[in-house]
Symmetry: C2
Subunit: 540 residues, 2 copies
Amino acid sequence: MSQFINAKDTTVLEAIDGTIRASGGELARLDGYPHIKVVVRANWDKSQVALVSGGGSGHEPAHAGFVGEGMLAAAVCGDVFASPSVDAVLAGILAVTGPAGCLLIVKNYTGDRLNFGLAAERARAFGLNVNMVIVGDDIALPHLPQPRGVAGTLFVHKIAGAIAESGASLGDVTAAAERVIAGTKSIGMSLDTCWVPGSPKENRIPEGKAELGLGIHGEPGVEQVSYGGARQAMAAVTNKLSQTMGNVPHVALLNNLGGTSELEMAILANELAGSVIGKNIKLIVGPATMMTSLDMRGFSVSTYPLAAEDHAWLTAPCGPASWPGCKSLNAVRKVEIPDGLRPIEPIPSKHPETEAFLKKCCECLIAAEADLNALDAKSGDGDTGSTLAVAARALIDASARLPLADHTQLLRAIGQELSQTMGGSSGVLMAIFFTAAGDAAASGAPMAQAYKAGLGRMQRIGGAELGDRTMVDALSPALDVLITEGVTKAALAARRGADYTARLSTAKAGRSAYVSEEQLIGHIDPGAEAVARLFECLST
Amino acid sequence: MSQFINAKDTTVLEAIDGTIRASGGELARLDGYPHIKVVVRANWDKSQVALVSGGGSGHEPAHAGFVGEGMLAAAVCGDVFASPSVDAVLAGILAVTGPAGCLLIVKNYTGDRLNFGLAAERARAFGLNVNMVIVGDDIALPHLPQPRGVAGTLFVHKIAGAIAESGASLGDVTAAAERVIAGTKSIGMSLDTCWVPGSPKENRIPEGKAELGLGIHGEPGVEQVSYGGARQAMAAVTNKLSQTMGNVPHVALLNNLGGTSELEMAILANELAGSVIGKNIKLIVGPATMMTSLDMRGFSVSTYPLAAEDHAWLTAPCGPASWPGCKSLNAVRKVEIPDGLRPIEPIPSKHPETEAFLKKCCECLIAAEADLNALDAKSGDGDTGSTLAVAARALIDASARLPLADHTQLLRAIGQELSQTMGGSSGVLMAIFFTAAGDAAASGAPMAQAYKAGLGRMQRIGGAELGDRTMVDALSPALDVLITEGVTKAALAARRGADYTARLSTAKAGRSAYVSEEQLIGHIDPGAEAVARLFECLST
């Protein structure tokens, strides 16, 4: 397997450019490639406190994806899993910091602490007002004095970002960031390692195992645990978190580490809501892809105690499209199934002439069973005759409960019967044919016109055109003639149409679309033959 | 490797419930599990035309993720890659359709056409006004009369949804949908197959190959092509699209098929902008995960000619968080690197006493080189002495250009020199120490207090506390004593602190945090020893 990259060295540069191009003009970058990779808000006027974050790349959409109104003013990007240089960070600070000052939000990795820290010193020597906070939300190793910074960093970006956007002072923004950092806890689980561009993929996690307590750089989790499904995975994660949370309302962030499908993430959201901490989660961010470890098939959950003042900051609209919003976590809201799923049973009525006509049609199809099966065996599974015969016998049996005296209702009732007795695509198509014909008849169309309406609807839904080697090739010309010239001429037209299908070398609709030319040529389509037989029967 | 599911049969049910729980109350579902899986807008009042879509699951966030204001009123979900039943579709129609009617948006698969088609007939028999459009945007097989419906369906949801939200009639909404369908073209490429829950993963695509022209159900692509990187991949896709587009403005949708990392998707966005069709793409949706094939590592591009009237519909705000917005596609906007990355060179000045003091310090460290290396070899790579000696020699060499007479500037200049000559973490930490000390001195702090300020900043950024077995254990007590009792007492304090590190069995910061207890005990930390030697030197 490969990756959608061009070259290892240009990976981050190209990804940043792609992000900027698709940002609708919201983002720009400093003109310092390749060493200085800094994404900034294009419309930033330095009038408020500037939030600057960043670190190694490989965590997309973090951090460039969180640059925008109400979140970051700049993201300083290193190479994949490598801290940016002091110069790059300093360039980012200088580019966005005005009189209101700047807050650096740094995840707790030595390289980031040092490079952001020295850049902050240099910026201060320019007279800039720069604060720095360090996020260490990972609880994988509970007694580690310097826990890693992972996805909980997003809470800091959002809350401090909204407060900065409101015009608060650097001191207030910094205090808010420190408050969020103190309360934020995160832990992750993964079923597979990530694949670093330009390096061989490591297959560290054996079948049936998962890693619990991950960083976001592909480093091994703290424990390798047995994997027993989504519920058990979420239980392992939330059991760790619950020990830190206390019985108070929280906001949770459910993060895709990169390679988990949306289907799985939705299941994990369901499990999170039903987990041991679910009752205390009032707000949820995600499930969404926010702080990744490249393409890692894993997830993380971050929690933060929901102070009353933070509700508004968390839910405030913001610019970055990568922020999925912060919403209430609710029970599953259910709506009653609407009435009317079971069709109204028609009122049976007698009409000897109609009953005889119907029976004649059915018997004609029953008589053709073996021939039609033989034809179908040339291009399909040889059951067209049997399918029609079964349906025809069922219709004869049902005649006592059909509304034979009301032709409009009868057509609809036949459609209903056929959809139940024929099954599969042909049953649905016949049901559509008769139901639509019934609707047309209800609107006052003469019977042959009603059948034409049914055919039109069937063709539209089934997608078969004339010449596609289906029953349409016999039925359509027959109905055209039936309207003006009667059933005998219609039978001739049906036969001509059916015979024509034997000269068609490709089928464009239905199952025989998958059959080769050699198998088709010289054989009449069994559906078209059935139509021809029916009309021939009726004309005698 | 495993998946985050619980059981095959409950996968879709649980995923829908998770989506509803995390929707902030925007979504509900019909109470018809397991057979009827229909997601509806919780606040839908049937006052406008209801858009209903759906089909098999496994395409998340489609379709439930696009239910919301300005897009769908309901999504009818089948099992993974299986069409929903007629009853399920009918239930969805009945649940959301009012006097304004309903438009079914169906992707061109036989099962979906038939089940949605028959459900539409049944709904019409209830007197409801139901139209149905069929999306066939896939150009993988250009001459196929019934192309598949893939990610371009999102254009239909968005444009028809915005028009319906504006209060347009069913006829107008249907006409708009037909117009979008007629112009939309899509094609996808993948590097790996998707993994259907409960089935073994098929590994169909060999190393170095990609599949071009995919559906969204894991079926093989139309061609298996050689894979030559992101640029060539995007070229293969856009070359196909360009043949259908003409030289007119378009909107493009860049879709993650499920398992492609955000980093890769950003690179693909960059390639799309630079591709043969890039100059005609005025608006872009994505890159984002919208219409997936579970976890497929692939992408698709959809294009639609940008009629003037559609610009507003595409960019109109809408409810569903899964819609990433539609933005202008731009050139990479660049901002000049700010001035000041290169520190101001200090003005050299003479001060014989200071020069002598500095030289004495440096020579003391040079003299300790071998001893410090030997100590470092116990817990590290044995180069602490050499690192310090190299820096000391460089500082002696630099003395002619240092601002020796201005102690504030001198501290900053030393910081700058050390960050360039020492390298690595220790260089950055020393630079932080001296820069912060210089800042404090500039604010009028006495020299010993200035050093304390430098130490504080270095500790904060480096994360080392007293007792963590670092140079801090010698430097911190020495500076405390220096302020009040002078250098001789300071040297004794430094020595006590350094000796104390030999009794510390765990290091909590710096590189020796990764070394075992047995390797540490009995050995003084080389950084602390260097500090003690320096003070001892100065006190004689």
